[in-house]
């Protein structure tokens, strides 16, 4: 099958920041993403588990964007505008997609 190169950006961020992140993505014309739940994790700000928290302040999610390589920088700028002061991680991978016109 014919495939095309793309980038897969994975952003782990506080759940309460999710809508701010996706709003920023939309503003940068990134309209394709998938949000995954996160059970727990560990980082510079310590360890946490979902069942150890109460209420909306808690928890993280993972936002995954598949995007054409040339649009990566726009996405990262938008994302870091939101993620910067908050706890979270961003990683970027190469991937191949089939129906490139979608991205």
């Amino acid at each position: 099958m014919k495939t095309h190169q793309a980038k897969r950006v994975e952003i782990t961020i506080e759940a309460i920041m999710q809508s701010r992140l996706t709003d920023a993505l939309s503003a940068a014309k990134v309209t394709g993403y998938t949000v995954l739940p996160v059970l727990g994790g560990s980082g510079r700000s310590g360890e946490w588990v979902r069942s150890g928290e109460i209420g909306r302040a808690s928890g993280m999610v993972q936002v995954v964007c598949i995007i054409r390589p040339e649009r990566l920088d726009g996405l990262l700028d938008a994302a870091f505008g939101v993620v910067d002061k908050h706890i979270g991680v961003v990683s970027i991978m190469d991937c191949d997609v089939v129906r490139a016109e979608r991205f």
Partner: protein
């Protein structure tokens, strides 16, 4: 004094408190006991709906008290004012940064609805009535404290602008909407509505509260286990002193308003309690640099257990004494 002690003992040995203690003990012992997140949220929806509804029914039954508006206003003043006192105490008692101190202060102006619910259940066991609209006062006290805290920070030079999204999130957070909505439903449908659903929202209420407090205990215990390092003596002392200060102010205002014994007790409870849902969420957005370990551990690990076990019977006893009941 005897009465206080017996109330306290009664309170401490009730299934509700013992369930909380079980939760704390289980998580300190690192048991894997846990209440699924969805179940805990469902229990809190039940409790908010029930307490709001019953408050509304009570307002429908007794008519709108002339003091309703005034009490709401006092609630807002307390919520906005208590953070200033808390901030001052924190500056004196602890070495927290201005940012952390402001974040903590916001929690103590706002309220814990579960503490409120537990207090109504103690009042009910003791046969003490209260104004139904205290539920609405609880709702009104959630948000003003956040504003005060942000004002404290901006005075310190670092301007904070609340975006309108955050405003909407705070004012329309799920707990407030459900509490106030159920209050109006109860008010509209009155005793008749209550009779339709009382075997759901009245009869099993205390039992549900037990399971909810079991979960609160688990969460509080887990927080204490993993974050107790942040509890420097001064900070810990603040978490025990502030509810006493808050409840005293609540008592003064309750008496000035001429509330019933139960009403005074509940205003004390609201002033004494600290938020651990709405305010932490707002702080993560507005003051992300403030350390959540500090405010969560204080509010949920120190002040909540204190109020639940010793505070509530104390406030009820004081309110009884002051109102001559």
């Amino acid at each position: 004094m005897d009465q206080i002690l017996s109330l306290a003992a009664n309170n401490l040995l009730s299934p509700i408190i013992l369930s909380f203690v079980l939760g704390v003990a289980a998580s300190l012992a690192r048991s894997d006991l846990s209440v699924p997140e969805a179940a805990a949220k469902a229990l809190s929806i039940y409790l908010l709906f029930a307490i709001g509804f019953k408050g509304g029914v009570s307002v429908a039954a007794h008519g709108v008290d002339a003091k309703l508006g005034l009490t709401l206003l006092v609630g807002i003043i307390l919520s906005a004012g208590l953070p200033l006192i808390a901030f001052g105490l924190l500056q004196v008692m602890t070495g927290l940064s201005r940012l952390d101190a402001a974040a903590v202060a916001a929690h103590y102006g706002s309220i814990s609805i579960v503490t409120f619910v537990a207090a109504t259940s103690v009042l009910q066991s003791s046969g003490i009535t209260y104004e139904g609209y205290m539920v609405a006062v609880a709702a009104a006290m959630e948000a003003p404290a956040i504003l005060s805290a942000l004002w404290l920070i901006s005075r310190g030079g670092s301007e904070r602008r609340m975006d309108s999204d955050l405003w909407r999130e705070i004012l329309l957070n799920g707990s407030i909407v459900l509490l106030v909505g159920a209050f109006f439903i109860g008010w509209i449908t009155g005793e008749e509505g209550l009779s339709e659903i009382s075997s759901f929202i009245v009869a099993p209420f205390k039992g549900v509260l037990c399971l909810f407090l079991l979960d609160m205990g688990l969460v509080a215990g887990r927080g204490l286990r993993s974050r107790s390092g942040v509890l420097k003596p001064g900070v810990l002392a603040f978490g025990l002193l502030m509810p006493v200060v808050g409840s005293s102010l609540g008592a003064v205002f309750g008496l000035l308003l001429g509330l019933s014994t139960g009403g005074v007790a509940l205003l004390m409870v609201l002033s004494a309690s600290a938020s651990y849902i709405a305010v932490p969420a707002a702080m993560r957005v507005a003051l992300p640099e403030a350390n959540p370990s500090i405010y969560l551990t204080l509010s949920l690990g120190v002040t909540f257990p204190f109020n639940l076990t010793l505070g509530i019977p104390l406030y009820v006893a004081v309110a009884s004494a002051l109102t001559g009941a």
